[in-house]
């Protein structure tokens, strides 16, 4: 299963509240992923990744996530299906210092892509499928691709089910596979873009009643830039 959440703030007045808004969203998705959890927060200068094994809310409390600010963040609650439950195997994966990837789904040809990446000198530190996808996306961007183009390359090179949520130092992007088997809901207001696996994770956000709420359609990259 797994749950993903993300918040891209447009209104700078909300920046100090990033963690405070993101933690309840992550906690709400604990039912989709009780094994482990993590977040990546962008404060405009650097990206901070915190991940661990255990209930999402405990990880957030232990690391003071609710007290942290920033202009965007993503989070993941993991129900492991294809590799071990360890901190290293949990999401987000950070293929480069300013890129974070969370994923709901599974990739079936990750071993093949892992070998291709190895031929370019890119190694993975775990046997996790999402790490391969994240390094693939990082490799595309390092080669000069725009994030949206890099995600379109995922559709060509990686086989499987996915809702992917990716952040960089400036961008926030969502992509679902061709069949859109894994859920995703986006809510957009003048103040923020919020993404979650299920709507109830968004229901506590300020102004959600007036947000434009929609499902990303298959194979279309949705991207926002700071």
């Amino acid at each position: 299963m797994c749950g993903i959440v993300g918040l891209h703030l447009k209104n700078a007045e909300l920046y100090p509240r990033l963690g405070e808004l993101l933690v309840p969203m992550l906690d709400c998705m604990a039912s989709r992923g009780p094994d482990s959890a993590g977040v990546a927060l962008h404060d405009g200068h650097a990206m901070h990744v915190v991940k661990d094994v255990g209930p999402p809310v405990e990880i957030c409390v232990r690391n003071g996530i609710a007290e942290r600010g920033g202009f965007q963040g993503i989070g993941h609650t993991r129900m492991a299906t294809e590799s071990a439950v360890t901190t290293q195997h949990s999401h987000p994966f950070a293929p480069t210092p300013d890129m974070a990837v969370v994923h709901n789904g599974s990739f079936s040809n990750h071993a093949t892509v892992r070998r291709r990446l190895a031929r370019h000198g890119i190694g993975c530190t775990t046997d996790n499928d999402t790490e391969v996808a994240s390094r693939f996306i990082g490799h595309q961007v390092a080669g000069g691709a725009d994030l949206a183009d890099a995600l379109r390359m995922v559709l060509k090179e990686l086989d499987g089910f996915f809702t992917l949520l990716v952040t960089t130092g400036t961008q926030f992007a969502v992509l679902r596979d061709s069949f859109a088997c894994k859920p995703a809901v986006i809510a957009e207001t003048d103040d923020y873009v919020a993404v979650a696996s299920e709507y109830h994770a968004l229901a506590g956000l300020p102004g959600i009643g007036d947000a434009r709420v929609f499902e990303p359609v298959p194979e279309e990259v949705y991207a926002w830039t700071r």
Binding site: F179, A180, P183, V185, E198, Y199, H200, A201, L202, A203, G204, V213, E215, V217, P218
Partner: protein, 227 residues
């Protein structure tokens, strides 16, 4: 009798469904502050009316055989899944798999429905005012899917005996689905259903009928091994 008020902020989903299931026929209930809660008003077989006042989550009105459920908002995946009798009306949009495997009853979506609307329909009626997403009507076996707007890719893939009517455009037909001539009976059927749902924008004489070509219908091992 005043409607029974059930507040999602005070009650668990199980408590709400137990309270709904215990109401006598003819009773009315209002479910407040659903905020995306899953599994509301499921498995009910009493003839009550349930009004869910806000956006709700997955499986709303599923497995019901009797009540009339209205959602004043949008719903998540699989609204009215395996519906047996009664109606579920969604004032907003519905997410994926709306009306999946419904055996009877009627699902009315006043907005759009997402992908796989009416998947594996088994005799129920699914009426969508707006658009439906990809693979709607997949392997639908019986019943009717009426789409007031446009249909996405692979409409009616591997269709059995469900008939699909589309008021707008069809992005593509799935395997073994074909467009057929509209008969007078079809026009009457669409008019009856559109009137019932209150879909005034549908012109019953100007919809596209999609049904099974029956080439994949069964595994015909005696027909020269042609598959």
């Amino acid at each position: 009798m005043d409607p029974v008020i059930l507040d999602c902020t005070q009650l668990s989903t199980r408590e709400i469904n137990a309270a709904l299931g215990g109401l006598p026929d003819g009773a009315a209930a209002r479910v407040m502050a659903p905020w995306g809660r899953h599994n509301l008003a499921v498995g009910l077989d009493n003839r009550i009316t349930v009004r869910i006042e806000g956006n709700a989550g997955y499986f709303i009105g599923g497995l019901c055989a009797g009540p009339d459920v209205v959602v004043d908002g949008f719903v998540g995946w699989s609204v009215a899944e395996n519906l047996m009798r009664g109606t579920v009306r969604v004032r907003g949009n519905a997410s994926e798999c709306a009306g999946a495997s419904a055996h009877g009853g009627t699902l009315i979506v006043e907005g759009d429905a997402s992908s796989r609307a009416g998947i594996s329909l088994k005799g129920g009626t699914v009426l969508v005012a707006g658009d439906v997403g990809h693979m709607s009507g997949f392997m639908a076996q019986a019943g009717i899917l009426l789409v007031g707007g446009d249909a996405g890719q692979a409409l009616g893939d591997s269709l059995y005996e469900t008939v699909i009517y589309v008021g707008g455009s069809i992005a593509s037909l799935g395997s073994d689905a074909r467009v057929e001539d509209l008969t007078d009976d079809d026009v009457l059927t669409v008019k009856r259903l559109a009137d019932r749902a209150g879909f005034e924008h549908i012109d019953p004489g100007n919809v596209t009928r999609v049904a099974s070509a029956r080439e994949l219908y069964h595994f015909d091992a005696l027909a020269g091994q042609r598959y």
